[in-house]
Symmetry: C2
Subunit: 377 residues, 2 copies
């Protein structure tokens, strides 16, 4: 099997990630941090705090309390959007968003709580300040962008958009599902107020964990339960992170996430260089195929390359790649319908290749070989 569906989840999980999870389940740590006050509970709490401090450092935050662990990037985005509603306000977003941004927004719009503008890209399929400026209204309070598109790999300029957000006094929420681990993100420098991350993609961690990082952002909780603080009160004070992490802390996955983050820090340059080189190589090779349509040829660091072979349904291509050649890619729609509408691929979908650190040039050559065979038949 050649696995090239890494933007969905990386197939390769480092040994340290697995060991991290097992450590959390060992006698020393298997307890409930932040609830009891015995040694095991404190052992686990201190380890969790280390991960908060790690993320604080990596994304340049001031306070480890601004790191909220979630069950994934979807919960992080839901918390960011549903937890910061300004009734009657206006939100700007783009056609590049994933359903984990669009659907909470559509829900709020449908309920009459917010106005929504979905910005379309320019003729180069890019979103720039020019497009965004046109969308600003007096009641705009938030801008949400997908840092790197899970569909095409297109990566937006967060420095520019951060300046734009600051100039208009907007809350700036970045969906870092595909960029986290692949691209260095400085939240303070780029005026990012909220950054949503997935543990299981660019960080090579386990599925089921993510984080929402806050930088001068105010939120109301959207999930209610035990918080380990102020148990006697009907609602606990809105203190980060406790107010947003109701329920038992997911120590196994946070320990695994921690190991994944450390893995990407340690090998950052190597991972980045290899992913970029392989992506460039693939785009070059794919470009030689007649009638191929490649949807983004400029952004490499997240390792995402999407294409179609003439009019062939993307699902047919993907199925043949898997059945005949043992190559796993994703096809169809990629949970981001407006990207497909923009590129006119709602029917055809797209074949998406996602390259990770452990992929090789030889695997990509096999992919290109297989695609050429598929076209011929």
């Amino acid at each position: 099997m050649i696995y090239l569906d890494n933007p969905a989840t990386t197939n390769y999980k480092p040994f340290s990630v697995k060991m991290g999870i097992l450590e959390a389940l060992s006698k020393k740590y298997s307890a409930n941090p932040g609830r009891s006050s015995h040694k095991l509970s404190i052992n686990a709490a201190l380890k969790i705090l280390e991960t908060r401090e790690l993320l604080t450092k990596v994304f340049n935050l001031n306070n480890s309390n601004d790191v909220i662990f979630t069950s994934g990037c979807t919960e992080a985005l839901n918390l960011a959007i549903l937890g910061s509603i300004k009734t009657g306000g206006h939100i700007i977003t783009t056609i590049y968003e994933h359903n984990s941004v669009l659907r909470p927004l559509f829900k709020l719009q449908k309920d009459g709580l917010i106005e929504l503008t979905i910005v379309k890209p320019n003729n180069n399929d890019e979103i720039t300040i020019k497009e965004l400026e046109l969308a600003v209204k007096p009641n705009t309070y938030m801008i949400i962008i997908n840092h790197t598109s899970n569909v095409t790999g297109y990566t937006m300029n967060i420095a520019d958009i951060g300046k734009f957000a600051k100039a208009h006094n907007l809350v700036f929420l970045v969906d870092g599902a595909q960029s986290g681990g692949h691209i260095n993100i400085d939240m303070q420098k780029n005026n990012i107020n909220m950054l949503a991350l997935a543990g299981h993609k660019g960080f090579y961690g386990p599925q089921g964990v993510g984080a929402l990082l806050l930088n001068n952002a105010k939120l109301q909780p959207i999930k209610f339960g035990g918080t380990g603080i102020n148990s006697e009160q009907p609602m606990p004070p809105v203190i980060s992170p406790e107010a947003y992490e109701a329920g038992t802390t997911c120590t196994p996955l946070i320990f695994g996430f921690d190991a994944g983050i450390n893995f990407t820090i340690k090998h950052f340059d190597k991972i980045n260089k290899k992913t970029t080189e392989l992506t460039k190589f693939l785009i070059t090779e794919l470009s030689k195929i007649k009638n191929i349509k490649i949807y983004n040829k400029k952004n490499y660091s997240a390792g995402v390359v999407s294409f179609n072979l003439g009019d062939l349904p993307s699902n047919q291509v993907a199925n043949e790649l898997c059945e005949t050649y043992g190559i796993c890619v994703r096809s169809g729609l990629h949970c981001a319908p407006l990207v497909h509408r923009h590129f006119n691929t709602i029917e055809q979908g797209m074949v998406r290749v996602g390259i990770a650190y452990n992929n090789t040039k030889s695997q990509l050559k096999k992919l290109v070989f297989a695609l050429n065979k598929i076209i011929k038949n």
Copy 2:
């Protein structure tokens, strides 16, 4: 260390649970089920389906689609409560509830969406149909009960309450956080419409996973994102389980949960017998201590025993147990404030001992010895 904080999370995790998690992270399964259509994604999806079928069988449901995986019992309860609001309706619950039930309800009450009645127990600290009947109003649509109290171990009669719920045409939601794995629950026989479970307590699974099981229950999603179905629609149809499980499936923890469920099924009689015997033994031994107040002496199967030593603050007792004797228990408030109000322990809290399968009589003897020493000093 003697770990007796098992109602928070079991310290012991079976080998099979750890191996299950590692399997999910192996090359064969580490993919995104329900999204892509390649072999690895299907491998993972089939394993997840097996766990749904297992839970369907164990709790006597008709359809494996009625099993919704969540990030824990808290999310399951939030989904059950916030996903089934009838505006202007009335909900009955009890003082035995955990904050993961009370706080979503207080939020709805505060927002003016529902009326709420919190039923108090009778003179025996029990909730019976008699108390519940008095709470029914014409607009009552739901009753929520904590099957086994995490504070005292008190276990309600779900058969009786199920009949009551059916007679009044109420949605019956059971918080099974502490009973799941310890007590057999037949959802159809007991007219339970929704059952919330935690993976990391009675099932000896990992922290970070739970489930909401549905039996003729209707729900709206409370988290929005990619569902793997109908990606092109602003909101997917409300189909179970996809509509409620937005985001990447947490395969590692579900694989671990599966192994935990199988562990409890295989050893059910043995676990139950041992927990019951140890709990009875502990209550007998504790009863010999002068000035001890034990808050429930009748329910054994969940292994929960709570007490106070005269007027000693529960935190002081717990700290001394940990510092001097290496015994881990929980103290203070237990995320269920109304239980403490009922027993007049808001200030003092309670010392809670939670017994699991791997605990021994000798450990409990050491605990009793330590408590006697603490009283003497």
